[in-house]
């Protein structure tokens, strides 16, 4: 603790590339200069809005990219584009001034061709000037889509066109090797691009603004139904990745070799897709593609660069109905970052689950899957309106509607056990929150249901009970997305079920499962907490001022224990709207006679002066040391880091996960947006009332954020106190262990 780590350049690219800011040119990245960052930031985003909620760490080294961006006052577009531009070595090709002179039907570019969302995000006038080519692309696309109303027709001609392009492509400089982080940023961008496509048709979007263009300017751009043909080695595996049809440069490079478009991360990235052939890809005119899709697998060719035209890219998205039999796509889907999330023996249970359960991290911007999931779902869920584009892939529902629906169906939920129902209902209403409590409540409900379980005739307990649990889990997911800790607990339970010896009688099996669950709760949660407290309490000295954020059960136990030991310390509880969980913690601590200070997160930089330790809880700790926790934790950790205050994370090892996550965008949870806009007890601040009726307002209530490991001094877990870099060790060495209790 005493030897605080030298503040690494916080601009570590893997942290920095959250998808909003240009990746720092590392050769130029100087020493961190905190003072300079705010002005930079404000420079880049003059309108300074929209994305701030998810902008975790401030960028420090944008100097190289700055000149490029400055003339284009589009804070939203630039960051996402930048990584790609960087990587494809057609730096900011879309902005290349020479492009502006591309003579095509720019004239007919008009405001209304832009998606309304563009106009909303920044002043439309600026758009008109700064995005001429965007307009051009769209205009062109529109034109073309009018011209070929039949998708298949042009196939023959396609080849010729493609051939023509080949030469140009070959001439293109090969892109430089991408770093992992860059690839991730790309994927992020593609996800965003995907968000843009609505419906089952391919959407041609002029991607001057690459993914972002896709993201914010959809509908109007030439929308066209197409048959696309993706056929290539590793198609099955591709499908997951398919949509990360990759970043322009790569595509452009290989495109020349006649239709073989390499989709995937190229050099041994996480994307395993190798070659995907586009049978008849016709770049007719300017940014037009015809793909024909063979098989139902899904192909996302997000961006194809047509080399001839500079770096024009066409975002093509095809979400054909996927064969439900193929588990891969769903699974891989968003875990591009976490390809290794499930492996080995988990397969089987996974398959089982596939049948009934929507993937826990389903992409909710894919209408096809959402439709399917809806059919299966027990709870009727009305999708919330006015969703924030960037978070389209996360489920967000109208809160009230779900509640009423679930209530009214109380007696109709045949298969769902009452105990499970109750837990789900309490998740939905927010009566239970907090990782441990949710996990315990879920396990206890499962325990109840297992106690009441009897194998139906002509079925085996192992299979039938697994499917029952699957059904419960899907119900719970509908109530509220699972936390990582719950996912781990479910994995454990399923593993226990599948590994039951076949010759066990039913009652024996049930007893064994019930005691297994008890053991899990006791050993992995209760005992783990005790151990954590024992470790952590050694870090509290007399006279310390401890800061904690929101309400964490482990931290609370720690504070109470330290108080019992007679340590003299003071606690600063930092809290934030809308949940104000810290209040409850405050009440309990004050009730025990602990000296407390309560403040909101707005004042965190003020109170941090006097703080000597920061203790935080976590929803999960990921393999790269990222701490995934209640939103606001990252902010507190960052401020603490800035003030050189050690940040200690208390987290039970069962919450560790081998996934790697760099940002809080790809996996997160959206809360009830109403909560943000409404301030209870303050009728006078109701300017946000009725926001649903306003098209231009999209409240965002994120529930979690990711704290980069740089800000974490130490993670206190039941296996001891470890630096965040050692998380993978725990996951590797002990991750399997709990499956074998």
């Amino acid at each position: 603790m005493e030897s605080r780590r030298v503040p690494r350049t916080v601009s570590d690219p893997k942290v920095r590339q959250v998808g909003f800011f240009a990746p720092p040119d590392r050769s130029l990245s100087g020493p961190p200069d905190p003072a300079s960052s705010p002005p930079l930031l404000s420079n880049i985003s003059p309108s300074g809005n929209s994305l701030s909620p998810v902008m975790i760490p401030p960028p420090r080294h944008l100097s190289t990219d700055l000149p490029r961006h400055l003339p284009h006052p589009q804070p939203l577009l630039s960051p996402l584009r930048a990584p790609r531009a960087n990587e494809t070595s057609v730096p900011v090709g879309s902005y290349n001034p020479s492009e502006f002179s591309t003579p095509s039907g720019i004239a007919d570019f008009s405001e209304d061709q832009l998606s309304p969302r563009w106009g909303r995000k920044s002043s439309s006038g600026k758009f008109a000037t700064s995005l001429p080519s965007g307009g051009f692309g769209m205009a062109a696309a529109n034109k073309i889509s009018d011209a070929n109303s039949k998708p298949g027709v042009a196939d023959g001609g396609a080849d010729a066109e493609v051939q023509k392009e080949k030469g140009a492509a070959a001439g293109k400089p090969l892109k430089e090797k991408t770093t992992k982080a860059e690839r991730r940023a790309m994927q992020e961008a593609q996800r965003a691009a995907k968000a843009a496509t609505k419906g089952k048709y391919l959407v041609l979007s002029s991607s001057w603004n690459l993914s972002r263009g896709g993201c914010f300017g959809e509908e109007e751009t030439g929308r066209k139904t197409m048959g696309g043909c993706m056929n290539g080695s590793g198609e099955d595996r591709c499908s997951g990745k398919g949509r990360c049809g990759n970043c322009g440069g790569k595509t452009a490079g290989t495109y020349g070799t006649m239709c073989t478009v390499a989709i995937g991360g190229g050099d041994g990235g996480l994307d395993r897709v190798k070659g995907v052939k586009i049978a008849g890809g016709v770049p007719t005119g300017v940014g037009k593609f015809l793909l024909s899709c063979n098989k139902n697998s899904l192909c996302w060719v997000t961006e194809l660069h047509l080399p001839g035209e500079g770096s024009k890219t066409v975002g093509v998205n095809s979400a054909n109905a996927m064969k439900s039999a193929k588990p891969a796509p769903q699974k891989k889907d968003n875990s591009s970052v976490a390809a290794s999330e499930r492996k080995g023996g988990d397969r089987q249970t996974d398959k089982d689950r596939k049948k009934d359960v929507p993937h826990p991290r389903m992409q909710f911007d894919d209408e096809n899957r959402v439709e399917k999931a809806k059919k299966r779902s027990v709870v009727k869920q009305a999708e919330a309106r006015n969703r924030v584009e960037l978070f389209r892939h996360l489920p967000q529902y109208e809160h009230g509607a779900r509640l009423t629906d679930l209530e009214s169906k109380f007696f109709q939920l045949g298969p769902v056990h009452p105990a499970v129902y109750k837990v789900g209902f309490r998740y939905l209403t927010g009566d239970i929150s907090g990782g441990n409590a949710r996990c315990i409540a879920m396990l206890q409900a499962f325990q109840e249901s297992i106690k009441d379980y009897s194998t139906p005739p002509e079925k085996t307990l192992i299979r039938d009970l697994t499917s029952k649990i699957n059904c419960y889990v899907s119900f719970l997911i509908e109530c509220r997305p699972l936390s990582i800790s719950m996912g781990n607990a479910i994995r454990f339970l399923k593993r226990r079920i599948t590994s039951l010896p076949l010759n066990l009688s039913e009652s024996e099996a049930i007893t064994s499962l019930v005691s297994d669950i008890d053991r899990f709760i006791n050993e992995k949660i209760i005992l783990a907490d005790n151990v954590i407290v024992k470790h952590a309490v050694t870090k509290i000295r007399d006279g310390d001022v401890l800061l904690t954020y929101a309400s964490s059960s482990a931290v609370e136990m720690l504070l109470l224990h330290a108080h019992e030991l007679g340590k003299r310390f003071r606690v600063v509880i930092v809290d934030s709207r809308p949940k104000l969980e810290g209040k409850m913690l405050l009440r309990r601590l004050v009730g025990k006679g602990i000296n407390c200070t309560y403040t909101h997160i707005n004042a965190v930089s003020y109170v941090m002066h006097e703080v000597t330790r920061v203790f935080l809880g976590a929803s999960s700790v990921l393999a790269n040391g990222t701490v995934y926790s209640r939103v606001g934790t990252a902010c507190v950790a960052m401020v603490a880091h800035q003030f050189r205050v050690p940040v200690l994370i208390c987290c039970e090892a069962y919450k560790f996960h081998e996934r790697v996550q760099l940002d809080s965008i790809c996996c997160n949870e959206l809360g009830d947006a109403e909560m943000v806009s409404r301030v209870t007890g303050r009728e006078d601040i109701n300017s946000l009332d009725g926001w649903t009726s306003s098209e231009n307002l999209q409240p965002l209530n994120l529930l979690y954020d990711a704290t980069p490991s740089d800000y974490v001094s130490m993670i206190i877990t039941d296996y001891g106190m470890i630096p965040p870099t050692s998380v993978p060790v725990i996951v590797r060495e002990y991750g399997r262990e709990y499956l074998l209790i």
């Binding site: 209530e407 009452p418 129902y421 209902f425 929150s433 315990i440 209760i526 309400s551 059960s553």
Partner: protein, 461 residues
């Protein structure tokens, strides 16, 4: 889901005197030509509640009702009709069937409820809070009881409907105080302890108790056994439970007993930690905070929760507990709440059975219903009324805002307005009825004019 449904169908209600008769107990009074209890049973059927106990006051009524149910719901619901002595009250009725109650929670519904609110909503709220009782309240319909009630002056029920003071906590989840109509003239007394615990209390008079309750069985049985003199659920049991929610005398009630037993098993330290962990993470309501007292970690005081489910205003919900309500419900089920009736409406927004015969120049307006085999003479008109089966209506008859039951014969030139005509009534020529209730089998003599009267054969009611 471990719920047991008890439908309190009543017997020959005194509130509905001229309408009910020996042949027609309250539960079989027609609403849009179907017995009112059908609406409750249909609701249960829709909600997959296949077992129900119907409690009827009086043997004869029970026989009538059970025969009707067995004909109509034979393959759909498993209904048990139990007769209890008359005048035992709702609490008495439950006391009488005490031994039949086995499930964890009991859903008590009134047999005269016409609603579309799923009982699941009440049950879900009940389960969510582990409540002792959950009552369903619904907003007073705007067009309903209050304004049109002026005509039938001697309605007893109007008093209770008028001021039902209900106090809720700010989250509108807990019932803090309930005062039924009779107590209102005096000062309303709220309990200081409750008020202090909650901090804020919202009293409203625009909610009516729909008589759909979910009770925790153990608590209900406790109360019924301890308080022998309790007669009515609404007037005695519910207010008692609400009053005593912070100083619970119930021996067995959910959460607390769990925690107590945990406390006794002292050495099981982890259990305590566990329950505490769970308790800490959930947002505590005032019951828990109060139970904890200021400092203690173990609950010092016993409490129980009385919850409410406040129905949405858009849902139809009404109880047929008065004559006025009877007309209102009939009007609504054919009119604005037409989806409840299960009929399909014609283009003119009315229902005319194919076998009904209409004379020339006879008009049947919208929101009307003409039952099977009824005949109408020439130049008659029917507006906003329900006419039952096999009625014979002569020429030049005007029927407005009325309910005419089965086998009624109305001679030429009659005018009937805002009235209820029970079965087998004969109305002779040129009689004028306004706001009247005509009991079964009554004969209205020719040319008679009545206004606001209840006409019935001498019976021993």
């Amino acid at each position: 889901m471990d719920f047991q449904v008890v439908v309190l169908a009543g017997g020959f209600s005194k509130n509905l005197v001229p309408l009910v008769s020996k042949e027609v107990p309250k539960a079989l009074l027609p609403v849009a030509n179907q017995p009112v209890i059908l609406y409750v049973l249909e609701l249960l059927d829709q909600n997959d509640l296949k077992n129900a106990i119907v409690v009827v006051e009086g043997e004869s009524a029970a026989l009538l009702i059970s025969s009707w149910i067995s004909i109509n719901f034979v393959d759909r619901l498993h209904v048990e009709v139990i007769a209890v002595p008359e005048d035992v009250g709702t609490a008495g009725a439950l006391r009488a069937i005490d031994h039949r109650l086995t499930a964890k929670d009991i859903l008590v519904m009134s047999g005269d409820l016409v609603t579309e609110i799923p009982p699941g909503a009440v049950a879900a709220t009940h389960r969510r809070h582990d409540a002792v009782v959950t009552a369903m309240l619904c907003p007073v319909p705007v067009s309903g009881l209050s304004e049109s009630g002026s005509s039938s002056g001697k309605d007893k029920s109007k008093k209770t409907n008028r001021y039902n003071i209900v106090s809720l906590d700010p989250t509108k989840q807990f019932l803090l105080h309930i005062a039924a109509g009779a107590e209102v003239d005096k000062d309303v007394r709220a309990q200081k302890s409750i008020l202090r615990a909650v901090g804020m209390m919202e009293s409203r008079s625009d909610l009516i108790d729909t008589h759909m309750y979910a009770f925790k069985r153990s608590a209900l049985q406790d109360v019924l056994n301890q308080k022998e003199n309790f007669q009515s659920l609404r007037r005695d049991v519910l207010p008692y439970l609400v009053r005593s929610q912070l100083r619970s005398e119930l021996s067995s009630n959910g959460v607390q007993s769990d925690e107590n037993s945990n406390g006794q098993n002292g050495p099981q330290d982890s259990k305590i930690v566990l329950s505490q962990l769970l308790a800490n993470s959930s947002t505590p309501n005032f019951h828990e905070i109060y139970a904890l007292g200021l400092a203690g970690s173990a609950p010092m005081r016993k409490t129980h929760k009385c919850c409410v489910y406040v129905a949405n205003k858009s849902n139809y919900c009404a109880r047929m507990n008065s004559i006025q309500a009877f007309t209102d419900i009939n009007r609504d089920v054919v009119g604005e709440a037409s989806h409840l009736s299960g009929y399909t409406f014609s283009a003119q927004n009315n229902i005319i059975h194919p076998s009904a015969v209409l004379g020339s120049k006879t008009t049947v307006g919208p929101q009307c219903m003409l039952g099977e085999g009824s005949q109408m003479g020439d130049k008659s008109s029917v507006k906003k009324s329900v006419i039952g089966r096999h009625c014979r209506i002569g020429s030049n008859v005007k029927i407005v805002n009325s309910v005419v039951m089965n086998h009624v014969s109305i001679a030429d030139g009659c005018s009937i307005q805002g009235s209820i005509i029970c079965s087998n009534v004969q109305i002779q020529e040129r009689a004028v009825l306004k706001d009247c209730q005509v009991g079964a089998g009554f004969v209205v003599s020719a040319g008679g004019e009545y206004k606001g009267e209840a006409l019935a054969k001498k019976e021993k009611f």
